[in-house]
């Protein structure tokens, strides 16, 4: 039924203007003639959709060829079908892609392929050559590009002492991606390192900001660092607050609550936002928490919870973040609409951050209902349009389908 609606008015009408969006009808991004297969949106930083001036690019991994490979669809704003679909990966197995807009209908994607990370330029003529970013032993690559055309990649690399993050600047030469500088460590070498799932964004003035998961303390914490153009990364600082064991716990190896999968974005006002999944409340699973920076990523403020109280009793998963005109949009999936019903495994939820506060949550009408709608990702266009992708399946173990929908603020207050 929902697919028959050309426009769906969304939102919580009692919260005027704070969480209201109108969505176009969903577009299925993959062909329907395939047998059962599985789509995934689980890349570092969850940059699975990018908004250009007139088009949107979506990247994902699926196994319809028999092995996991990375694909991309491009569709014009308002289109009811992709204009182009490409298989981006060329090797045996590929995972966890990211994509950014490079202007004028051009895109840059990166992903893990056969034990390392690679990048590829795409334009209206299709994909260019594949560029390895690391010779071997790398994974969890993410991308960041700003309005000035700066392009960076960060990834996790295996070393004899553990897994460490590296970052580099990229440049487009013709239709090829090249490394504009030598990859550098984001945080210093340390014994037993485990740095993982980086997220990256650009602050005003060309400061590159990277956040990541780090297990140096005996449980997962989030750290961040940044560097000015031509400079070195600053000492890492902890992003999340965490629960430590109580003082009477005695001798223990248990060092605190968990966090995972941090995302970063920058809005048009130059503010930075981070969100992540946070297990500080032991009774209700992971929740979406965040922190903001108003000094270009040099520091982040106190942690604030993103979701509203209606989501407090259920776990949140697959958070993603977009920055754009005047604010941010966070999306994730949870089961608040199906509490107690094991057959209703999740819907896509959205919250908007404008004027320094997260809006009441919106159950996205085009990405909710019977079955599972989840693992969302989002991008914001320069016109304030929201571009949302998500995965649907009958239940959590069923084969999946991939959908896209665009939305606009139903009121000017939703996202200025």
């Amino acid at each position: 039924m929902r697919y028959l609606l050309a426009l769906v008015f969304a939102g919580l009408p009692i919260i005027a203007g704070a969480a209201e969006w109108r969505f176009d009808s969903p577009v299925e991004l993959t062909a329907k003639d395939t047998a059962a297969h599985f789509h995934h949106h689980d890349g570092a930083g969850r940059r699975h959709v990018a908004a250009g001036e007139q088009e949107v690019a979506v990247v994902w991994e699926d196994d319809h060829s028999g092995m996991p490979q990375v694909y991309m669809a491009v569709l014009a704003y308002g289109a009811d079908a992709p204009a182009a679909r490409y298989r981006l990966s060329l090797g045996d197995e590929a995972y966890e892609p990211a994509v950014v807009a490079a202007g004028d209908g051009r895109w840059v994607a990166a992903w893990e392929q056969d034990g390392t990370v690679v990048a590829r330029f795409i334009d209206g003529d299709g994909p260019g050559p594949v560029t390895p970013l690391v010779e071997k032993g790398a994974r969890q690559v993410t991308l960041a590009r700003d309005g000035a055309g700066r392009l960076a990649a960060a990834w996790a690399k295996s070393t004899p002492v553990g897994q460490l993050l590296e970052a580099t600047l990229l440049r487009v030469e013709g239709r090829r991606i090249v490394l504009a500088d030598a990859p550098t460590r984001v945080a210093p070498l340390q014994a037993h390192a485990y740095q993982a799932y980086p997220a990256a964004t650009w602050a005003p003035g060309g400061r590159l900001v990277v956040a990541w998961e780090d297990r140096r303390a005996g449980h997962t914490r989030l750290y961040y660092s940044s560097r000015d153009p031509g400079g070195a990364f600053a000492p890492a600082r902890q992003l999340n607050e965490h629960n430590a064991p109580p003082p009477d716990a005695g001798e223990t190896l248990a060092l605190g609550s968990g966090v995972m999968r941090v995302m970063l974005a920058t809005d048009t006002a130059g503010r930075l936002q981070a969100i992540w999944l946070d297990k500080r409340n032991p009774s209700s699973g992971y929740a979406v928490w965040g922190a903001s920076s108003t000094d270009g990523g040099k520091s982040f403020g106190v942690n604030t919870i993103v979701q509203d109280e209606l989501g407090a009793a259920v776990p949140q998963w697959h958070a993603a973040l977009a920055g754009g005109p005047g604010g941010f949009v966070a999306v994730w999936d949870d089961t608040r609409e199906s509490w107690g019903d094991e057959t209703e495994p999740g819907d896509v939820i959205l919250s908007t951050r404008v004027d320094g506060a997260w809006s009441p949550d919106l159950v996205v009408p085009v990405a909710s209902g019977e079955g599972y709608q989840g693992s969302p990702a989002a991008a914001l266009g320069d016109d304030g349009s929201l571009h949302l992708v998500w995965i649907e399946k009958a239940d959590l173990s069923a084969p999946s389908r991939l959908f896209y929908a665009s939305g606009l603020p139903a009121t000017e207050e939703a996202l200025r």
């Binding site: 059962a36 599985f38 995934h40 689980d42 196994d63 996991p68 197995e93 995972y95 032993g137 994974r139 969890q140 295996s158 002492v161 553990g162 897994q163 037993h192 390192a193 485990y194 993982a196 799932y197 998961e213 297990r215 303390a217 005996g218 449980h219 997962t220 064991p245 716990a249 223990t252 190896l253 248990a254 060092l255 605190g256 968990g258 995972m260 999968r261 297990k279 032991p282 009774s283 209700s284 699973g285 992971y286 776990p315 998963w317 697959h318 495994p345 959590l396 173990s397």
Partner: protein
């Protein structure tokens, strides 16, 4: 009886080597046990027609450590679980990949989403084909584990709920 054979040891060695990381940064399964990744455990379970005991943990998780320290050191628990199940372990925040019986390739974190693991530790009893038998969230004492084992290995789950079984003493 569940004997450790060369295949099991090889699988365990590949599991440790496959992480590419020192053991100190992984979540902490109890020492002295032979846990496998779930996909390898399911292969063995299918071949040997034995159920799977899956332990979801998290690095630094206080209740996981308490379970490891207080319950998994009990020789009765160790004997019953090793004898009756193929043992699997997953790190609930890990990006390590495994392949499910459906053919889907997912991370251990995504496995937790699929199995609705909202906290750790989280214990799952599965049929050899991966179908769920029952799940037990949170800290479990040694006596809890022994009761769960009697319920599952005795086949009582086919006829009554765990609450009913527990009430019968």
């Amino acid at each position: 009886m569940f004997y450790i054979n060369k295949r099991h040891l090889l699988a365990l060695a590949l599991y440790m080597a496959g992480s590419g990381m020192p053991g100190t940064v992984l979540a902490d399964p109890p020492q002295g046990w032979d846990f496998l990744p779930l996909d390898q455990a399911l292969q063995i379970a299918s071949r040997e027609q034995r159920p799977v005991f899956l332990y979801f943990g998290r690095q630094g998780c206080p209740s996981c450590e308490k379970t490891n320290r207080e319950s998994f050191t009990d020789p009765r628990v160790k004997e019953r679980l090793r004898e009756n199940y193929v043992l699997a372990y997953a790190d609930s925040e890990s990006g390590k990949r495994l392949r499910l019986n459906s053919g889907e390739r997912i991370t251990e974190m995504a496995l937790g989403v699929k199995l609705k693991v909202f906290g750790t530790p989280f214990f799952y009893f599965m049929q050899p084909n991966g179908q769920p038998i029952m799940r037990a969230p949170g800290y479990q004492s040694a006596e809890d584990f022994l009761l769960l084992d009697r319920y599952v290995s005795g086949g009582h789950y086919k006829e009554k709920t765990f609450s009913e079984f527990k009430a019968e003493g």
